[in-house]
Each structure stands twice: as structure tokens, then as C-alpha cells.
Symmetry: C3
Subunit: 476 residues, 3 copies
């Protein structure tokens, strides 16, 4: 192989190589590369913004152990999670030396070749920390030192990074029963950063989950009322929604494994709810209840104006041993086949023609894009199509998303991007990848005579910034 | 953005941009761009050809209100269908001013950016009406005037457009119980245009539909016989087929939501038929009957030589409110998952090895292309693969179609193109898009050394013209 | 069309046309084009290596009649299989003149335009036999003579071709009850070629198949023991595995139509086994047993170190008439929808975290790539993703495979290539196509700044040679 100079982040990366297309892609990308980041959906811990002095303690704690996108890949190649410092639920021994964790990770960084995680890391290491060397076993310690030296600096505290990243709003994901103490603290501090909560329905809605009753008990406690009937349950939930809204929430979020919305009578719902409270509900009934809660949630969204996010189809904690040993969000969530056309029929017939409802649907089953979701989004006023998500948040996934949905859904029934991340320093890299891939897709249409440049210029700005603001009703 | 001259329809549009590939694409495209249009499947109203003086009254009535591809997209963005002049079943108030409808549409034409509908419109407005301005709110009225002035001219009457469009044959879709009065009138007029009927089986075959008994009653009336048994039903249906064939039909058409073909005894069929007549059939039985009719239809096709078209997987009238208010074909048909390998097992085992049968299968579920339909078409003599259809009739859909089916089905188990349209003026644009995308696909294979230019030249002519004629047995 | 010189096999074929990408693809391809061929999975008859003097009798017998990839396409266009010399089970008349068969095939070779079979043939005819003319009706006899003249030469005997093809190891597929006489003969001959058996489980595991009891009887015979209980069955099977391993096998192979792994008790398994032995098992029970055998096979693989291959989802002998008349492997196997996430849950929870197990999963349902298989392979240490297979072993299929799996599975949870062929002379062509498409994919990533050239150079060598050796544990 010939020698070649390593340019860490060429400005034209990820674009199609043919120069006329690349030139247009670059022209479009430059229109949006410095626009603020709108982050309507993600999993950043609000705690890091609550304390103005919060400091990341080391590169491993910041970048590896909280991010299952990262450690699942090493696990798949036989690296025990304990060696990566993932805490065991039983308090058993795990590696505690962040340098060793970092070294082990660096030695296996080649596993991320051509993956989105690899791209995000290269971008993040360079643009956040100025790392220009390729991460591997040989460079691991030097890069560790380079990052470590910066983490101690005030400008690497989360609030300062939020500002440096040019984030306009960042929504977290919070259990419906959360008291939002960190969000309160952020508000009370007077810091102008917009960290907004999102009400996650799963704990209370997914009756099939083993800990559903604990969530109901938590709801009773936080509400200060007895939850003895479906009606009191809904009242308590509506109060939580009002509280979240008051605390700045614009949206709810729901991720059931399946998504069939049944058409139950009040009596049926109440009966299942009572059985659920007593813990003697059947799996089928529990799934009916979970499906019903999607319907109820749509009704509440129409009433309180919260945007409704639905992303079904992830079989959570598929690997029981990993779950039992390390807990949830340990890389063991695996997608399953999903169906929307029949499953959402009851909901869309009741509320889909109501323009007050915004229901954003995400999928991990790409076969539903052209078959179901794009035609649904291209018809029902209430339904919008969320961006490629999780396993599809990639160069390939983003291109497929547009190619599979543009024909039937059009562009304006989509909602821009969200980063959905647990890794705060990866946020700019993720948005940058989206902006690049959208610019590249649009440039491909321009050079094929499908779009003119004026339209493409509007669309890239919509995609990068304006659509997310509009759909999530951020009016700042 | 820099200024650029607007070329409405560059000759090389939609082709891949790399010049050597584009040059070959253009070379191939030029071989077929002026070939006559063979239109074996579509939904043009034969009425417009029956009266030689038929004149489109205005642009909205010609281009917007009859075409659910168009108005569903505006509806998805919250525009009431009443504002677009879609007639309500209850006779309720809808916009009647075509200028206002046109204005509203033009203001939202940006919703069609990068969609096939957008491409068809741009082509149609330019090539049929000479419109060179971009359609938007500002240009709406001028373009309206420009079209309106032409509609009054004799050369814009349907028969003259048929000739100008260089259509060789145009098949309509007609209920099996239709008396084909318009087709009779066309024949009687001596006009040489070939407007041929196609016998649509759905009304009589889809027992699960709420109006099945009305269709049976209509069959009884048109046949002048009592339909009291499955046997008399089949006799009456066979008479309809004979009548359609005499009137020029080459094909039948069937679009059930599901496609499971059961293996029923005569007694079982008769029993279900009797229950159907009495209106006390179960959903399961009705679906069995519908599946059985696919089998019966194959048998009849072998006997009378009519080509059999099957395109399952559309959940008709998914949006009940829209259906109740505006009727069928209002943009609310949504695809569902479909399965062919097991579902067609009975049919293919009984008739699939019979070369007298031509069964053309279409799908809206693209996951079936490489998994089921291409392997089936690459094995069974009777089964052919229809072109990308409805939501897939697009730049993206056409490319995926070839990439997902060529390996297992080959090229010669496909059947060329059909436009499947309700919008007469869009026909040339739709065929042109297909011819371009096929030329582009073939050019991509030539520059990769997969095909030589001689083979590609044959294939583009097969694709654009010869395959459809051969498969539908048009021997003029 | 202009005249153009026919270059049979341009060195840069199948690569993307843009010169900078093509140059990198060629550079990568050259790193691997002469590497030895590792063939861990295929269907070559070991008999052709057992006799050192084995000679292919004519082109039709060598290239057409054993290869259902080839004759199914002609059958789909109405050519009777009898005309192609496919032997009938009933001994009925079939064409016996290889020249006539060859002529008929050549006249229809245009059916393979743009298909992988067409590409393999062109490569094979040129590189193995020096054929430079295009195969068609006019050239058929001259090419026949050209091949025929060579088949008689010693260097066209299978062992000599094995060496000329630079094959390092070639695994066959053998019933678990096979005595491996041909493999014994090869070993005994002292010839250094590595022809290794693979233990195919289907006969013994797929209780739903009509001939399951015959396979059990064959097991009893070859084992010299009565198979009267599940326990004796497993003991006999373990002995067969030990025997295969002693004979050089590195892997087992299993291809059930469905893949649900149940969690049965020993008593349940024994009860179903007893009913199976008596021939009064229900379809449901037979499928449970088949699923259970996947689990048992994983347990045995952990114990004996054999790599486990699983490729479900082919509905075997879909065309009963073709099966009854010509037997299995006659082109009538059709894929069906498949599901892995739920289906493999029991297996992966029991053994998926065990690094001693290597379970390679193949699919014919490409919708499972990004949805299920890539996420599973990117998490479970035991699970690896097999290459695109059978109907997907193509330019299109290979590209889709990488684009659909790289994000979640990464590159190093895949296992390189296998040719899976019944046509010995096609082996170099198939590996060459893989090496080209991988070089092209990697080059596309390099020109987009996603990979650097050093990484791509490592990956192409892993893909073409090293991964297959490592995963199948070939340590020669």
C-alpha cells in the first residue's frame, strides 16, 4: 500500500466521490454545518448539567462504560464485560483501572471499522479532544493522557460543552414517576441551557414487564394517591403529564415490544387493570393493556399538546444472563419483526385525522418503511415518520431511509434528526453525520435533475434544523 | 445559492451522473424513447374516449380531483379534502372553484419534491401543456390560464391526446358486471384507438367485502340468470369472461388483501358460497372463498387464454372516516405484509407447470422480491413478475425492483411496464420514467462489464415495449 | 450500436466505474486475487476426487445436468427438464445427446443476462476452457467441441483442477449416516488435496420430513446399534460426529425450513421421539423436535468443537410434480419468511455466551439482516453471520449484505465466503466474484473517507482468506 497522509476529518468525507456531486453536497452541507443542534430525543443523564462543576473523571467513564453501542461489539468478540468495567449488579469484581479499560478498548477499536460507532469516535476524538492519531493498542495511552489532561479543564464540563456544541435544546428521557430533581436543579441554577424532560411511558404502560407493579407503586407514591382503578391510574398519569409539561417537556416516549392497539371497552380495560394490580394477568391481557395505553396516550396528547413518540419492536434484554448480571441497556436489546398497518388501525381511525395529534413513529424493522410507514405517513395528518434510529443511525441506514420513504411519505412528513444517544460527547458527531448524509442524498438528486438547487437548499435546512423544531413545537 | 438557468426537462435527467455511464444510458434511452406506449393495466375512465368531443373542463378536474396519488399528500399535511374539491358522498359542501383548488394545490406542490408524483407533474406540465415555470403559489394562476387555454382546443381531447402520446393499446379496469357501454361506443365509432377492457374480479371474488352480495346481485342481473349455487355463479362468471374477451379483453385482474389459496373440496366451496349468499359467512370462510377464487381464476385463464393479474396486499380504505365521507380510492389504501411461497403453493402445484397459464404477480411488500417472488418466477413456467407498482413506481422503486429480482428471476421472467394510472395526461411521463430508469440500470451494468452493449440494447427494447406485448398476448 | 471489441474478462469488471474508486478497488483486489481458495461449505461430490482418473464425460454432464441454478431458469421459460437431460425417477425418456442439450442451453443462455449464473459461466468458460466467444445458438457447437477436446486431457481431471484452482481446502456436505467411502479413498490415495466432509444433520433432525424414519434406520445400521430411545439416538449421533471429526470434518450443517428452538424437558423430547419412531407424530411435534435438535447440536458443538452451520428458511421441493418426477435439488426450493430473534432465544440464552461455540447463521430472507442477524451477531459471542448465500450470492446480494449488516454486526462478526456450489468448475468464478465485490465495497468506503487504505487492505485479506480459516478453525 502506498504511503498517504492521514487527514483525520476531510471536509468532504462520506459524500459520493464523483466531483460534481461532491461539490453540490459540500455546498449544501456548508449551509447547515454550523446551525444549532436540536436534540428532541436522547438519553443523556440530566445529572451532568445539574451540577455546574460536574467533571468527567476519565475517558473510560465518559466514553466506554455508559455506552452499550460501544461495549456490545467487544462483547460479541468474546471480551468479558467485566474487563470493560461494566458494573455487576451483584457487586462482583470488575476492572477498575480506567487505563486498562481504555487499553483493551483501543486494542479492539478495529472492530468498529466502517461502523457508525467508529465514525462517531473518530469525529469525537478529533473535534472534542484534538486527537489526530488513529486509536489502537500502540496509541492508547498517549491518547488517554491527551484526553485526561483536558477533562480537568473547566471548558470540558458538560455545561460548557453544551455551549461549545451549539446545542439549542436537549431532551432527556425520564420515567413518568421521576420527580425531575435534576431538571429542577438546572432550572433553579439560572443557566440558560435548555435541558427538557421527556415523559417515558414504558414503566406504566408495559404491563407485560415483570416490574410493572413496582412502577404503579412508584406512581402512587409520587402522586400521593392510591391507584386502585384504571380511572385513578389515568388521573395520576395525567397529573404527571401536566407536571412534565410544566417542567418543559414537549413530548412523551413509548417503546413497547409489540404495537397492536386493540379496541377495548372501558370495562375490559378496568378488568385487565385490576388483574394486573393483583399480579394475575395473562401475557395476552398484559399485551392488550400495553396496546390500549398507546391509544390512551394519543387521546392525552390531543388534550395536552404533547408530541407522542412511538418506537416499538425492540426485544429488551434478550440475553438474560447479561441482563441478570449487568442490568438493562447492556447491549442485549434485539429487534423483532413489527407490523403497523393493522396494529395502528384502531388508533389511526380514532385519532389519525385529528391535526392536533403528532404521532412520530420510529422503526427498527426497515421492511416496514416502504410497505407501511411511508404510505401511512403520506396519508394520515397525525402520523409523522421518525428518523433512522439506533441500529439504523448510519451512513447506510440514513440513505436507505430516504430511498425507502421519500416516494410515498414525501420529505415533509418526516421530522428531521434525533441523536438518541447516551454519550454526550458524541452528539456533534451524530448530527454531523446526518447533515452530511442528507446533503449527499440531496446532491444525488440535484445531479440527476430530480431537484433543483433552490429546493435542495431549503430541504437541507429543514432537515438539519427546522423540521425538528416545528414538529416538536419548540417555539424559541 | 448561485443563479442557474432552469432547464425544465434535461435530456439526461434521472441518469447516474458519471459521464461514461450517462452516455450509455442516453444511448440506450434513445433507442426506446419514441417507441409506442403499451398500457396493459390502468384505471383510465373509458368514458373519455367514448365521446369524440369529450373535453376536460379545467386543470383541477383533469389533474387533481381524480388522482389520489395527488390529494393524499396534501391531506397528510392537514389540508381538508373538501378544500381540494373531492366530492363528499353526502353531498356536503366542497370547494367548487377550480382556480381556488389549483391555487391551494400549487402552494403545496413543494410537498412533492423528490417524489414520483412531482416528477410526473413536471414532465406532464411541460410536455403536454408547454409549462416551463415552476409550479407554486406565485405561478399558479398563470399556469392555470395557460392550461385552460389549451384544454378548449380540439387537439386536447382524449382521442387526440391518445394519438399524440403514441399509445398502441390502453387497457382499462372494469367490474366483471360492467356492460362495457363505453367500450361498445368506442368500437362502434370506428375510431382505431385500442381501448380494451380488463375484467376485475374483486367484486365477485372478495367475499369478505361488505358489498359482495350486491355484486352477486349485479351479476345475476347482467347475466339474466339466478345465482343460486356456486356452479351457476361460475357459469355466469365464465360468460362474463367470454363477453369481455369478445370485447377485446386480454386479461383479468384481482387484488385481494390476502392471498392464501386453500385446497377446498367442491362441497366446501358450495357450502361457503351458500352461507355467503345468505350473508352469514364468517370472516375466515369469506377469506377461504376469496383464496379459492384465485385458484378458480387460474383454471379459467388456462381455458380461455386470458392473462391473470394478481396484486394482493393492499388494505383498502384503511381510513374509515375518509372512506365513509369520500368513498373508495381516496388515498387511504395502505399495504400490509404479504406471503407468497406458502400462499400460492396449492395454485402453483395445480397449474404452475402449465405453460398455457400466465400469472403476473405484483407486490407492495418489497421484502418478498428477493425472498419469494424472484425465486418463484425463476422456477415456475406460469408465474411472471409484474413491474414495481403503485407506491413503488418510482426512481427508487424501479432500481430496487431490478436489483432485488434480477439474480433469481432473471430479466425474461418480468413483463415490462404498466402505468396503473387514473390520470390520463400522466401516461407519457410514467412510461418515460420507466424507460429512463431501465436505461440507467442497464448502463450501470454495461460500465461494470456485466452486460455488453448489444445485450443491453436488446433488453431496453424488450423492457420498454416488446415484453409487455408478448406477455399480454397483444399480437397487433 | 457502435462496434466494440469483445474483451471477455476485463480486469476491472464489476467495479464501480468512477476511476478513483475503481483504481482503489483494483489495488485491493490485486492483494487477494491469487490467494488460495478456502471452501468451507459446498456440495461437490467427493467421488470425483476419489478416483484419480475421474474424467468429466462431456460439457452437459459436467456443467448443466448437475446444477439446478442452471436448469431452473430454462424450466421457468417453459423448457421441459427432460429436454435438458435431467434424469426422471421413473426412468422415462429424457434427452441423452449431450450436444442437443448443450445446443438448447446455449440458445437460451441469454436468459442469464445480468445474473450471477451468467457471470460465473462467462468466467468459467474463459478461464477454465479458454472460450472467448459469446455462448449462443450459433456458437454452441464450436464451444462444445472446444471444451470436449480439453476434458479428455489429464489436466482436466478433478484433482488437477483442484490444484490449478489453488484450492486450499474443500468441504463437502455428507449425510450423518454416510460411511464416507469416497473420503476414505481420497485419504488412502495419499493425494494431498484437502477434501473434508461436513456432517449434515437434516436427515436425522428434520422429523417433519417424510423420510425421517428411513434416516433413523440408516443410523441404526451404520452405528450397529438399536435406536430405541432419544438417548441411544444421541449416542449414535455423537459417534457419527466423532467419526466425521476423525475423517477431517470441521463443521456440521443444518437446514430446517423453520427455526424455532423450544425449551423442552427430557421427558417431552423422549415422548416425541418415541412417537416419531412409531410414525404417529403430529406436524407440530415434529417441528418441536427439529427445533430441539438445533439446541442439542449446539451442545454437541461445544463439546466436540465442530463449527455449527444453520441456514433455515428454504421450503424444499415446493413444486411437487417436479420433485416426484425428478427428485430433490431440481430447482424447486423456494425461500420463506423467517424469524431469528425469538426463534433462537432459548439457544442463545443457553449457549450464546459460550465462546467455545461458533454458530454461523445464513439467511435467504434479507429482511432479517439489519433487523435481527446483525444485532444478534453484534452481541452474542457465539453467533457469527454467514455470507450471502444461494439466491443472494451475487453482485447485488453481496453489496446488500455488507450495507445491511456492517453497522450493527461489524466486519469481524462475519466469516468470509463460501461458494456452496454443486458445480466444481464454477468455484474459482464464485470466489473471484466475492473478492471483486468486497474490494469494490471497501474501495467505496475508502473514497468516502470512511476507511483508510491500510484498514481496507487488511479487511480484503480477511474477507478473501483469513476469516474463513479462522472461523472454521482450519489451522493448516
Amino acid at each position: 500500500m502506498p504511503q498517504h497522509t492521514r487527514v483525520v476529518l476531510p471536509e468532504d468525507r462520506y459524500f459520493d466521490p464523483y466531483p460534481p456531486q461532491k461539490a453540490i453536497a459540500l455546498q449544501l452541507y456548508r449551509l447547515v454545518k454550523d446551525l444549532p443542534l436540536v436534540c428532541p430525543h436522547g438519553h443523556i443523564d440530566p445529572r451532568i448539567f445539574a451540577d455546574p462543576e460536574y467533571t468527567f473523571s476519565n475517558p473510560a467513564e465518559m466514553l466506554i462504560t455508559p455506552d452499550h453501542y460501544v461495549f456490545r461489539m467487544l462483547y460479541s468478540q468474546g471480551i468479558p464485560l467485566e474487563h470493560l468495567g461494566i458494573p455487576r449488579r451483584d457487586g462482583g469484581a470488575v476492572e477498575r483501572d480506567p487505563r486498562k479499560i481504555w487499553q483493551l478498548f483501543a486494542e479492539h477499536f478495529y472492530l468498529f471499522r466502517a461502523t457508525p460507532t467508529g465514525m462517531w469516535w473518530t469525529h469525537m476524538l478529533y473535534s472534542v479532544f484534538g486527537v489526530t492519531q488513529k486509536l489502537n493498542g500502540a496509541t492508547a495511552q498517549a491518547i488517554y493522557d491527551q484526553i485526561m489532561a483536558q477533562l480537568a479543564l473547566p471548558e470540558f464540563r458538560p455545561r460548557r460543552l453544551y455551549e461549545r456544541f451549539n446545542i439549542e435544546v436537549l431532551c432527556t428521557t425520564d420515567a413518568a414517576t421521576d420527580r425531575l430533581e435534576h431538571h429542577r436543579a438546572i432550572r433553579a441554577s439560572g443557566w440558560p441551557g435548555r435541558i427538557l424532560p421527556t415523559l417515558r411511558l414504558d414503566g406504566l404502560a408495559n404491563m407485560y414487564a415483570p416490574d410493572w407493579r413496582q412502577h404503579i407503586a412508584a406512581l402512587a407514591e409520587v402522586s400521593g394517591r392510591e391507584i386502585s382503578s384504571y380511572r385513578t391510574f389515568i388521573q395520576a398519569l395525567e397529573e404527571r403529564r401536566a407536571f412534565f409539561k410544566e417542567m418543559g417537556a414537549h413530548a412523551t416516549d413509548h417503546s413497547p415490544v409489540m404495537v397492536h392497539v386493540p379496541d377495548l371497552t372501558e370495562q375490559e380495560v378496568e378488568r385487565i387493570f385490576q388483574r394486573g394490580l393483583k399480579g394475575n394477568v395473562s401475557t395476552e391481557e398484559a399485551l392488550l393493556f400495553t396496546g390500549h395505553m398507546i391509544l390512551e396516550s394519543a387521546r392525552m396528547s390531543i388534550e395536552d399538546g404533547m408530541v407522542m413518540q412511538l418506537h416499538p419492536g425492540s426485544y429488551r434484554n434478550h440475553n438474560r444472563w447479561v441482563y441478570d448480571t449487568f442490568g438493562p441497556d447492556s447491549g442485549g436489546d434485539i429487534p423483532v419483526q413489527i407490523e403497523f398497518t393493522r396494529a395502528l388501525h384502531t388508533l389511526l381511525n380514532r385519532y389519525g385525522n385529528d391535526p392536533r395529534l403528532t404521532l412520530i413513529v420510529f422503526t427498527l424493522d426497515e421492511s416496514t418503511y416502504s410497505r407501511e410507514l411511508a404510505p401511512l405517513a403520506g396519508h394520515y395528518p397525525a402520523l409523522k415518520l421518525g428518523p433512522p434510529w439506533w441500529f439504523q443511525d448510519s451512513v447506510n441506514g440514513m440513505l436507505r431511509y430516504r430511498q425507502l420513504t421519500i416516494d410515498a411519505a414525501g420529505f415533509y412528513n418526516t421530522v428531521g434528526f434525533n441523536d438518541d444517544t447516551r454519550s454526550f460527547p458524541s452528539i456533534p458527531a451524530r448530527h454531523d453525520l446526518w447533515r452530511r448524509m442528507e446533503a449527499n442524498w440531496l446532491a444525488g438528486l440535484v445531479v440527476r435533475g430530480i431537484l433543483d438547487l433552490d429546493d435542495a437548499a431549503e430541504m437541507i435546512q429543514d432537515s438539519a434544523y427546522r423540521l425538528a423544531k416545528r414538529v416538536y413545537r419548540f417555539d424559541f
